[in-house]
C-alpha cells in the first residue's frame, strides 16, 4: 500500500521507518510545518535526518501531503479534544477522496466517532484505529473477532505513566510528588503530566472502546474520570498490608464509562507493573480474556498502525 503519514512525532516516525519492512511505500510525510511528497516513495531516512537537523521533514507545504497519491492516510498528529482538529479534517479529506484511514490520533475516534462513521459510510475507504487504544495490544481487533455484541464489559490499565507512578509508590513507599519527578527525569512522564495522571488519556481510550462496544454515541463528556494525583502513599501502604494494591482502572460496562484508582489484589491479572498496560474483556460465551503488553512507545504503536494497514480490504 502507498501511505501518507500525517504527523512526525514518535509514532509517525516509527511508521515511516517500519513501513518498508511490512511491504508498504511512504509516498507522503508531513509534520505541522512541512511535507515531503514523492509518488515513487520518499527517502524516509533523509526526511527524518532533515527533521532532526532543521525541525521539519521537508520543504513542501503540509497540505501537499493530503493531495498526494496514496492508498492509506495514517493520522498520527497529536490528540486534541473537542473538534479534534486538525486531525479530523485530515481524515475527512482522505475519506472524501475514497482513501482508507488508519488513526493513531485518539481525538477523532473519541470525540467525533459518529461524524467519523458518517464520513466512512459515504466513502469507499475504511477507517481503522487499533493504535488509539493501548499501543501494541490488539484490543479493537480482539473485540471485533469476538463480535462487540458478545462482549459485556471491558476494563483495564490503559495509561503506562500512571501505572509506573503507582507501581513505584507501592514498591518503594514514596510519595506521588517524589515518583512523578523521578518519572519526569526518566522520560516516562511529560513535563505537563496532567493528561496522564488526571485520567484523561485512559478515559479517551475507554470512550473509544465504548464507541466500539455500543456502536457510537460516546465522547469524553460521557466519562466519569478521577486521576491518581490525590492518592497518598499511606493508601498504598494500607492496601499492601491487606495483600492489595492500587491501579488506575478504566472500565466500560452497562453503558457507562469510568476511570479511577481502584483497589486490586496484589497479584491480580489486572495488577500489571511499570509502564505495562492490560485490557480485560468479559464475554458472553468465552469467559474472560486478558491481553497485556506495551501500551505506548513509537515502534509499539506503529506496529498497531501497520497491523491495521494489513487488515484493510483491497479496494
Amino acid at each position: 500500500m502507498k501511505l501518507c503519514i500525517m504527523g512526525a512525532g514518535a509514532v509517525g516516525r516509527s511508521v515511516a521507518e517500519l513501513a518498508g519492512d511490512y511491504g508498504h511505500t511512504v509516498t507522503a510525510f508531513a509534520d505541522s510545518s512541512s511535507a515531503v511528497v514523492d509518488a515513487g516513495g520518499i527517502d524516509v531516512e533523509q526526511a527524518l535526518a532533515h527533521k532532526d537537523e532543521v525541525g521539519r521533514v521537508g520543504e513542501g507545504d503540509p497540505a501537499d501531503a493530503l493531495g498526494a497519491d496514496y492508498d492509506v492516510l495514517v493520522e498520527a498528529t497529536p490528540t486534541t479534544l473537542g473538534d479534534a482538529e486538525p486531525g479530523f479534517s485530515h481524515v475527512e479529506a482522505a475519506l472524501q477522496n475514497d482513501r482508507h484511514v488508519v488513526l493513531a490520533n485518539k481525538g477523532p475516534v473519541a470525540e467525533r466517532y459518529d461524524d467519523l462513521r458518517a464520513l466512512e459510510r459515504e466513502s469507499e475507504g475504511t477507517v481503522r484505529f487499533e493504535a488509539t487504544v493501548a499501543g501494541a495490544i490488539p484490543a479493537i481487533a480482539t473485540i471485533e473477532g469476538l463480535d462487540p455484541d458478545h462482549v459485556t464489559a471491558v476494563r483495564g490499565v490503559l495509561n503506562g505513566t500512571a501505572n509506573f507512578i503507582l507501581t513505584r509508590m507501592a514498591t518503594e513507599g514514596l510519595s506521588y510528588e517524589h515518583v512523578l519527578a523521578e518519572a519526569q527525569d526518566l522520560g516516562v512522564a511529560e513535563a505537563d503530566p496532567t493528561f496522564d495522571v488526571e485520567g484523561t488519556d485512559a478515559a479517551l481510550k475507554c470512550v473509544i472502546l465504548a464507541n466500539v462496544l455500543y456502536d457510537g454515541g460516546y465522547s469524553l463528556d460521557d466519562a466519569e474520570v478521577d486521576g491518581i494525583s490525590d492518592v497518598p502513599a499511606s493508601a498504598l501502604e494500607l492496601a499492601r498490608e491487606d495483600g492489595r494494591t492500587v491501579r488506575l482502572i478504566g472500565e466500560v460496562s452497562g453503558g457507562e464509562v469510568r476511570v479511577g484508582p481502584r483497589l486490586v489484589p496484589e497479584h491480580d491479572t489486572l495488577a500489571v507493573t511499570g509502564t505495562q498496560n492490560i485490557v480485560q474483556l468479559e464475554t458472553e460465551h468465552a469467559g474472560r480474556l486478558n491481553v497485556s503488553g506495551r501500551g505506548a512507545g513509537g515502534p509499539e504503536t506503529a506496529s498497531a498502525v501497520l497491523a491495521d494497514v494489513g487488515r484493510l480490504p483491497d479496494k
Copy 2:
C-alpha cells in the same frame, strides 16, 4: 453464512447452538454415525435432543452433510494423529467444492499443514483454525495481525488439564497421582489422560503455531515433548521455597518446538492457575504480548470458531 458442522462433541454442539446468535444458519450437522440436512436451516435443538436420546443427531448418512448446501465447513471431529483422518478428507471435500473451512480439529493443521495449504491454493475457499490453539484465546489472529515475520517466539501454557494438576500439586502439596484422580472426578481430566499429561496436546498446538510462524513444514514428529507425570510433589515444594513454581510450557522459537515442565517465578505472567491458558508472543517491534483466558470448553472454543467464520472473505 450457511454452516455444515462435522462433529457433535462439546465444540460441534456449541457451534450449532450459538450459530444463530452470530447471524449464521446451520444447514448440515453430522456426528460419526448420522446427519441431519436442511437447506433452509436444520432444527438445532431437535438434533441435539435426538443426540441425547438415541446417540445420533439424525437419521441421514454422515456423507449427506458434506454433499449439502453450505458456505463453510466447520470441522469439529476428534483430533487424530498421522493421516489426520477422517477430518482431513472432510476438509479436502469442502475445499475441492470451493467451500471455506474452519477447523477446531487439530489433526489436519498439526499433522498435514502443507497438504492443507496445497488444497487451499487450488480452491476458492479459505482455511482458518483459531479454535485449534488455546480455545477462546485469539492466538492465531494476533500473530496474523503482527505479521508472522515479525514474531520471533511464542511460548505459553496450552493445556488446562496439566495446568490444573500442577497448580493443585503446588498449592496443596499433593502427589501427581492424587491430584490426577481428583481432576478425573471433576471432569477436568479424561479417563485416559495421556494426551494431556504427556504433553501431546500442548505439542500439537505448538506445532500449529510453528506452521503459522514458519509457513509450514512441521508435524508432531518435529516436537521435543516431555510431560508432567514424572514431576514429584517435592520438586514443587523446592520450587516454592525459591519463589517459583512449575508449569508445562510449550515454546516455538529459533525453528524449534519444545514442550516440557519448566520453573517459572511464582507470580510470573506465565504462571496462570487452574485450567487457564496463556500465549506469550515475542515480537520484533512491539515487545512482549500476553493473551490469557479459557483454553478449552465447548462455548469458549465455539466462540473461536465463530470468530473465524466472521473473518472469512466474502466469495
